[in-house]
Symmetry: C2
Subunit: 361 residues, 2 copies
Amino acid sequence: MKDGENEHGNAQSPSVPNVTTRTEFDFIDQLRQRATLQAHSSQTIQLLKLGIGDDAAVVHSSAVKDTVIATDLLIEGIDFRRNTAPANLLGHKALAVSLSDIAAMGARPRWSLISLGVPDDVWQSSFANDFYEGLFHLAGQYDVQLIGGDTSRTPEQIVIDSIVIGECPIDRAIERSGAQPGDQIFVTGALGGAAGGLRLIERGAHLADQNFSANETQALDHLLLRHLQPEPRIGWGMVLGQERLANSMIDISDGLSSDLNHICLESRVGALIHSSLLPIDVQVVELCGRRALDPLQLALHGGEDFELLFTVRPDAVAKLPRRVDGVGITHIGEIRDGSEGVKISEGTRVWELQPGGWKHF
Amino acid sequence: MKDGENEHGNAQSPSVPNVTTRTEFDFIDQLRQRATLQAHSSQTIQLLKLGIGDDAAVVHSSAVKDTVIATDLLIEGIDFRRNTAPANLLGHKALAVSLSDIAAMGARPRWSLISLGVPDDVWQSSFANDFYEGLFHLAGQYDVQLIGGDTSRTPEQIVIDSIVIGECPIDRAIERSGAQPGDQIFVTGALGGAAGGLRLIERGAHLADQNFSANETQALDHLLLRHLQPEPRIGWGMVLGQERLANSMIDISDGLSSDLNHICLESRVGALIHSSLLPIDVQVVELCGRRALDPLQLALHGGEDFELLFTVRPDAVAKLPRRVDGVGITHIGEIRDGSEGVKISEGTRVWELQPGGWKHF
């Protein structure tokens, strides 16, 4: 990522990164340029609000409504492991990650489509039933309807593509590109829990683990579920979108450092966040801290918290509700001029916040 | 498939097939029942026109328009092989199969999203560039805009999920369930070419193959491209939809025998088709016939021709255009009462047309 960052940041120059060194972000940028060129030469452009490169695509579906579409590919062995992710929680998570994208646009999720590929032995098991059980349960909570998808056999791995379609009033979708110097930066909930949970799973921990002390088990389950069963911040997304409280937003899927950089890159601004303000998950501090896992690193670079990271104009800060659906928010910094870069302060020290989160390539 | 057929056909009885014997069609039927139950208990039902179990899902997106969404999962080793499917043709095909689903609903395709998972070595190659080259080329032909998707790493196999979103006037989507006794059955183009092409590829043939005689090469390339680079019948779909000429429609992806059975099952009707009327691809007769591949079997049960199979009320038959975009149609039989089953006549013999096409499980 660090290697590709300069090339990616240099969005004005359409130089194509060398195939062998490009990151997925370079590639997505190329695709966007190509798709935009095509749109300019067609009649589609007036209908296309926002395409490649945000949490979701937005199209004008009527004179009053925009349609928002998110897709998330989950691959066994990369995004999850069959022996540590129970099928019902995987069904929950597959839907949750796309719901989170819709929330990050400030839209209301309406419909789900699931493309599911499984090998023969998985098909013969209760996997698909359990998977959809978890999915239907979460869908029911937000009145989201499963309307379609595809089913396929695979040679070995389970493959899931989760598509969620949402709606918002026309031109109300909150993009990554709307932040301006002076905006205040907020994040919902707590950070680092999902990455902490994943690290503990990788070290052999599991739900209701008898290897942990009695008073650690509840804390452990909390962290593992932050990874296995993330909760999308639908309520916050809709409040921030409908009342136009946020002017840019993203969900924390890659990690705070990467996702803040995404906002700054798209908005052509800088940022300064303060490590002392970061709402690090208390169980991360408790359980991970004493296992030589740095809570601050997990909060900054650990992915999949699926909290919302958003910016608010100074005059709108007072209008923010304190809690939505029982989830609070925390002020973590300010948007600065683009020339100042993306930085983090710790006490009197300030350093550059390199995107250190998840990347596929 | 034959084992599961009775259970699947018995849609009134919600008995759940045993996990170990169910087909994918059983499973999709279960999902549909579950999703419908959920919809009835929510406020979504009035917006959901048609969900699981057709070529695409349909939702009311405004007072005048319906949105139609199709997804198709393509898995390396199951749906294609890396060494026989050139990347640009794979990009074409990934989009084409979903465009074909939209055409089968009588809708106009507007937007494409592609979720693409590839292993590291493929990412380092020109695969993704070539894949999108083929996809953009086809998208440009139909003014379809690539607006999003997801990119992921996979351990080994290439995985593609193709999502296409289309539109049609409200309540004009053509479902599988609208056929009535007395309707005439039509099919666009020619049948068996894609299956014939696949069989020849499996025997080692490739494009511009020097192992074939000079006058066979052109015929061979035609068949291979029927498999590798199918053409969706967008023009026919839109004509049949907008002018309400067809009352049921499906695209031939599984195979004529299976797809006709899908229409009859959903419409609760029977059918009689005549083998002498089937528009078997002339190159299948030529090239496959002399290689011990039965052209009639390929036309009946070979999948992926992506022609449209549709039914027309007797009084509407005279209104059908002869050709659309240079592609003709052929009358192949009639819809009968459900009690008569799904049958095929050959000379004076009539037998049951079992669904013999593609199934994943």
